[in-house]
C-alpha cells in the first residue's frame, strides 16, 4: 500500500522537478532553435550542420544589431513526431525567433505547419526534397535540392559517351526526386534509362541490386543514396567487378560525401559526381572556411551539410541586421528572401518567390590531392534554380 503511494508520489515529483520553468522572453536575446538528428543513423548530418552553424557564429561574433544571439540545439533523434513536439516547445516555451536544421525531409515537413501557425521563419539546412519549401510560406532553404544536382548530371552524361543508364536510388523523397529528374533530363538528351531500381532506406543491402545492374549491362550506373551509405555502394560496385565490365559510376555528390570520401580508398578514384559543394572548391573563402572548420572540429573535414548550416546562419544574421529585431517573424522572413551572397560553395541566391536556393552546380571527379581523396571540380553549371519548382 505504502509502496504504491510512494511510487505515485515519486512519479509526480519527477514530473514536477523535470518541468523547467519555461524560458522567459528576453528582450535583448535573439534565439535560434536548431533541430537536428544528433543520435541515430543521421547523427553525422547533425554533427556537421551544428559545426557549420557554430563556426559562423564564432567567426562573426554572437551579437547582431545589439541583440545577443543564442543557439538552442535539440536532438530530434531522427523522428518526425519528436521533431514536431520539439519545434512546438521551442516556439511556445523558449520563444525562438527562428527554427533551423531539419536533417530529413519528413522532419522538415512535420515542422512546416508549426512555422506557419506561429509565423516563425524556418530554414532547412540539410534536407533536400523539392517540395519542402512549398509546405509553408515561412520555410526557406540553405541546403540544396536533388532535382538541382540530378538535372545537371542528366545533361552532362549524354555528352560524355553515356547512352544507357540504370538508376539506383534510395526509396524516399530525395531519392525519388533524383530518379525522376535525372531520368527525364537524360532521356530528353537522347539517352535511355534501362531500369529504375529503388533500395529501401533502412538497412540497405546493395549486393543483389548491383548484381542486377551488372546483368543489365548499361553504360553507366546513376546512384543516389543518403550521405553515409555511399561507401557501401562503392564497395559493392568494385567487388562486383562493375568497373572492369565497363560500367561507369555516376552519382550525385552524396555518394562521395566529403565526410566519408577519404576512407573509401582508391577504388573511388575517377568517379564523376554532380553537387553544389566540394571541400576542395578553389576559392579563398572556402579555403578559410575549411581551415577554420578543421581547427575547431578536430580535423574533421566539412561537407555540404556543414556549408548548409554555415550559410543558413549567414541568412539569419543578415536578416537580423536588416530588421534590427523589429517586426517579428514576417519582417525577418521578408529580410531573408532575396538575399544573394558569396558562400564557401560559390555564389548563392535565396529566391524571393520560392524561398528556395539558387546556386552553381559543379561536375567533379574524385582525385587524389596531397595524399587525400577530394572531389575536384572540372565543370560548372551556373545559377541552377530548383527544377522541381520551375516545372509548375
Amino acid at each position: 500500500m505504502l509502496r504504491r503511494q510512494l511510487v505515485q508520489a515519486m512519479g509526480l515529483t519527477a514530473i514536477a522537478l523535470a518541468l523547467p520553468l519555461g524560458a522567459y522572453a528576453d528582450e535583448g536575446t535573439f534565439k535560434i532553435g536548431l533541430i537536428l538528428p544528433m543520435t541515430g543513423q543521421q547523427a553525422s548530418t547533425g554533427r556537421q550542420v551544428e559545426a557549420g552553424v557554430r563556426l559562423y557564429m564564432a567567426q562573426h561574433g554572437d551579437t547582431v544589431a545589439g541583440k545577443k544571439v543564442e543557439l538552442i540545439v535539440k536532438d530530434d533523434t531522427g523522428l518526425p513526431d519528436v521533431a514536431k513536439r520539439i519545434a512546438q516547445e521551442l516556439v511556445v516555451n523558449d520563444k525562438v525567433d527562428v527554427l533551423a536544421g531539419f536533417g530529413l525531409t519528413p522532419i522538415a515537413l512535420a515542422v512546416a505547419p508549426i512555422a506557419t501557425q506561429s509565423k516563425t521563419p524556418a530554414i532547412t539546412m540539410a534536407a533536400a526534397t523539392s517540395s519542402i519549401t512549398e509546405a509553408s510560406p515561412y520555410m526557406l532553404r540553405s541546403s540544396f535540392t536533388l532535382p538541382q544536382v540530378s538535372v545537371a548530371m542528366g545533361d552532362w552524361a549524354p555528352k560524355n559517351g553515356i547512352k544507357s543508364v540504370v538508376t539506383l536510388v534510395a526509396d524516399y523523397g530525395p531519392g525519388n526526386d533524383a530518379e525522376k529528374f535525372f531520368s527525364e533530363r537524360f532521356e530528353l538528351n537522347g539517352g535511355k534509362v534501362i531500369d529504375k531500381l529503388r533500395v529501401p532506406l533502412r538497412n540497405p543491402d546493395f549486393a543483389p541490386f548491383l548484381q542486377k545492374v551488372r546483368d543489365e549491362k548499361p553504360d553507366a550506373l546513376f546512384v543516389f543514396v543518403p550521405s553515409g551509405a555511399g561507401a557501401a555502394v562503392m564497395k559493392q560496385f568494385l567487388e562486383r567487378g562493375m568497373d572492369k565490365a565497363g560500367i561507369k559510376l555516376i552519382a550525385t555528390g552524396d555518394v562521395t560525401d566529403d565526410d566519408q570520401l577519404n576512407d573509401m580508398g582508391d577504388g573511388a578514384l575517377g568517379v564523376v559526381t554532380t553537387h553544389h559543394y566540394s571541400a576542395a572548391h578553389p576559392s579563398a573563402m572556402n579555403k578559410k572556411f575549411v581551415a577554420d572548420f578543421q581547427a575547431a572540429n578536430k580535423n574533421m573535414r566539412p561537407n555540404f551539410m556543414a556549408v548548409g548550416g554555415y550559410d543558413g546562419t549567414r541568412v539569419i544574421y543578415e536578416a537580423l541586421k536588416t530588421t534590427k529585431g523589429q517586426g517579428g517573424g514576417p519582417a525577418l522572413l521578408a529580410a531573408m528572401k532575396g538575399q544573394t551572397f558569396e558562400s564557401p560553395r560559390g555564389p548563392v541566391l535565396i529566391d524571393a518567390q520560392t524561398r528556395d536556393i539558387t546556386q552553381d552546380i559543379y561536375l567533379r571527379k574524385v582525385e587524389k590531392k596531397d595524399g587525400q581523396l577530394y572531389n575536384i571540380e572540372f565543370d560548372v553549371i551556373k545559377g541552377v534554380k530548383d527544377p522541381g519548382k520551375t516545372k509548375q
Binding site: A43, S44, P200, N203, D205, A207, P208, Q211, G241
Partner: protein, 290 residues
C-alpha cells in the same frame, strides 16, 4: 542466377557463424541473449582498430577477434550473465537489450556513428567469373574466402561436438543440465567455455562481415532479427539446424531482393512467421531436444 545463389550461400554462411553462438547459448543455458550482436560488433570494431591503428594484417585480425571477444565473453558470463540464468525470460531479454543499448552507445561515443570501412588485402579483392550470360557464376574472392572459412568452422564445430569428450559433455548438458550435473559434469565450466566460444565466433563473424554487412554502432540492433530468425527456425539442439536455416535465410533474402526488389525483406519475415506457425519448435529440431 548462379551468382545470386553463390552470394546467398556466402551471406548464409556468414549469418551462421554469427548466429551459431546464440543458438548454442540458447539451447544450453536457455538464455535469450539479445546482446549477441554486440559481440559481433566488438569483433568488427576490433578488426578495424587493429588494422588501421596497429597495422595488423587482416588475416591475423580474424583469430585475434575470436580470442579477444571470446575472452570478453567469458568474463561477462562469469560476472554478469551467470546470476541471470535463473531469472524469467522477460528479465533475460531486457537485461540483454540493456547490454546491447550500452554497447551501441559506448561505441558511438568512442568511435562515432559513421560507417567503418575495412581495407581488404589485395588478394581478397578480385573476382572470378565462370561461364557466360544467365548461367554466369561470378564469385567475388572475398565471398569465396568467407564460404571457405565458415565451412571449415562448421566442420570443426561438428567434430568437436560429436568426437570429443567436451562435445559429449556439452550435448549432455544441453539435453538435461540437472542430470548432467548429477553425473559429475562440471556444468558451470561447460557453460563458461560454450559462452566464450559462442561470443568468440560472433566476434569472428563480425570481423568477417564488416566488409559485407557494414559496420556502425547500430549493427547489433539491425542484425539481431536475422540471428534470431536463424536460431528460432533452425532450432537449438544441433549445429546443422541453424546452418540449414542460415543458408535458407541467406539465399531467400538475396534472391528475394534480386527477383522481387519491391518485396525486399518482406518475404523473409513472412516466411519466418509461416514457418514458426507451422513448426513452433523450429524447422530442424531433432525430437527430444529442447
Amino acid at each position: 542466377m548462379l551468382t545470386i545463389l553463390f552470394d546467398g550461400i556466402a551471406y548464409g554462411m556468414l549469418l551462421f557463424v554469427l548466429a551459431v553462438g546464440l543458438a548454442v547459448t540458447l539451447g544450453l543455458m536457455n538464455f535469450i541473449n539479445l546482446a549477441h550482436g554486440a559481440f559481433a560488433m566488438a569483433g568488427g570494431y576490433l578488426t578495424v582498430f587493429a588494422m588501421q591503428k596497429l597495422g595488423i594484417p587482416f588475416l591475423l585480425c580474424l583469430p585475434l577477434a575470436f580470442i579477444v571477444v571470446g575472452a570478453v565473453g567469458a568474463l561477462l558470463e562469469r560476472t554478469l550473465y551467470r546470476p541471470m540464468y535463473a531469472k524469467p525470460h522477460l528479465d533475460q531479454v531486457l537485461f540483454s537489450i540493456g547490454l546491447a543499448f550500452m554497447a551501441v552507445a559506448a561505441v558511438d561515443f568512442f568511435v562515432g556513428s559513421s560507417q567503418q570501412n575495412i581495407q581488404l588485402p589485395e588478394w581478397l579483392r578480385g573476382r572470378t567469373e565462370i561461364g557466360d550470360g544467365a548461367l554466369m557464376l561470378g564469385m567475388g574472392h572475398y565471398r569465396l574466402f568467407i564460404i571457405a572459412i565458415c565451412a571449415l568452422l562448421t566442420v570443426v564445430l561438428q567434430l568437436i561436438l560429436s568426437k570429443t569428450s567436451f562435445g559429449a559433455r556439452l550435448r549432455a548438458a544441453v539435453d538435461d543440465p540437472r542430470v548432467a550435473a548429477g553425473l559429475g559434469i562440471n556444468v558451470n565450466v561447460v557453460f563458461l567455455l560454450t559462452f566464450a566460444v559462442g561470443s568468440g565466433l560472433a566476434g569472428l563473424g563480425g570481423a568477417l562481415g564488416a566488409e559485407i554487412l557494414g559496420l556502425d554502432p547500430t549493427f547489433p540492433l539491425k542484425y539481431m532479427i536475422y540471428f534470431l530468425i536463424v536460431v528460432s527456425v533452425g532450432g537449438t539442439s544441433s549445429i546443422t539446424g541453424p546452418l540449414l536455416a542460415a543458408l535458407l535465410l541467406g539465399i531467400a533474402d538475396v534472391a528475394g531482393k534480386y527477383f522481387i526488389p519491391k518485396m525486399g525483406a518482406f518475404t523473409v519475415y513472412l516466411l519466418m512467421i509461416l514457418i514458426l506457425m507451422w513448426r513452433p519448435q523450429g524447422l530442424f529440431t531433432r525430437k527430444g531436444g529442447r
